[in-house]
Symmetry: C2
Subunit: 240 residues, 2 copies
Amino acid sequence: MLRSCTAGLRSLWALRGGREGVPRPSTDLQPAPRLFSAEKVIHTDCALPNPSWSKDLKLLFDQFMKKCEDGSWERLPSYRHRCAQISEDFKNYFLEQKPVKEGRLSQVRLFTRGFEDGLGFEYVIFKNNDEKRTVCLFQGGPYLQGVPGFVHGGAIAAIIDTALALCAAVPGKAIMTANLNINFKRPVPLCSVVVINSQLDKLEGRKLFVSCNVQSVDEKTVYSEATGLFIKLDPEKKSF
Amino acid sequence: MLRSCTAGLRSLWALRGGREGVPRPSTDLQPAPRLFSAEKVIHTDCALPNPSWSKDLKLLFDQFMKKCEDGSWERLPSYRHRCAQISEDFKNYFLEQKPVKEGRLSQVRLFTRGFEDGLGFEYVIFKNNDEKRTVCLFQGGPYLQGVPGFVHGGAIAAIIDTALALCAAVPGKAIMTANLNINFKRPVPLCSVVVINSQLDKLEGRKLFVSCNVQSVDEKTVYSEATGLFIKLDPEKKSF
């Protein structure tokens, strides 16, 4: 629901890391964040292949990594742990709301990265800034089950929210989901790979209108369609 | 997204269990489900207090348990593991879709129960059948973080989907979410307790229209409002 932009994330909560056996991208060479807790947290980029990735997911990943070579597409890194410090934007915006208790700061995890490799959300998002669109490659693990054999609609909603937010992301600005409207057409089989194509449709002042579809790798099946409205937060204003 | 009704769940995937120190409700005294896998799975009702529950959550739980005494309200049990057997309704409905691979059957978990106690979704849902409404008491743990200090919008969408689906549930029928439309008004602080009030607004053939709001325990803050459209599945028909 609430997110800073990708660039903002990297500057506000500058994170670093890399998976074993995978070269560390240069964008990850940033200082570790300061935590309130003294606990040492290892920051690993989760948007890179791991042994749980299926052939389909690895193949699509490789195809998009190729597209990144000329700079038209960019792979967005993603981390399990974020610095628990409340960003100034949000602190100003929701003054009266108490954040997480100090004692639990070291326990926090980004929701879509809260499961161990392969069990939950396995995904990577690629962005094309010129075309104002993103492609999210998603494999829903066995801990995301809804009805037996299929991914829970709430998990689909969560990955759609994530994909749309990163499509709407504005450099240097914090954004918040104001509306999410999802049409579910068919259930997504557990452990299968789907592709979420998102695009920025319209900009109106602080409002960002985005939409997406969730489809099979062969593009023959559309599982869901969704629209999202995101708002750039303005610390001077306490409401939308 | 896809769910059978509460009664259906109990008959199709009859589950049993109870938490330590908490009397086992009579509804739980049912045979364990048959799994494809030979692995023994312990079925524990997760919709009962555990040490991670805050005072607010325990207090509200006790209040609603009191309301259950005269039979007007009912606590809905909830389990981490479901029988992985695809129910006949869904099997008939989505014939061409392949379910989870056999080898991973023993790993599956219901998405909203996939985290250890206190880390993810802690919730209990009470239903008033006469008034066609449910109340979901929800505490979002530290693994559900979106922006630092607040619950991820996708996690809010997931618990809303769950609450609405159980409100729309029809005895003996499998239902599927067709649409979920959520307005996010304010972010929910991590580890706080919120109350989701859902109601069945309209029934039109196989369509069930439901709505809900997500508010603070003191009812002073409305965090989100949502509507949902659920469809009763008809094995004879392959589309909505």
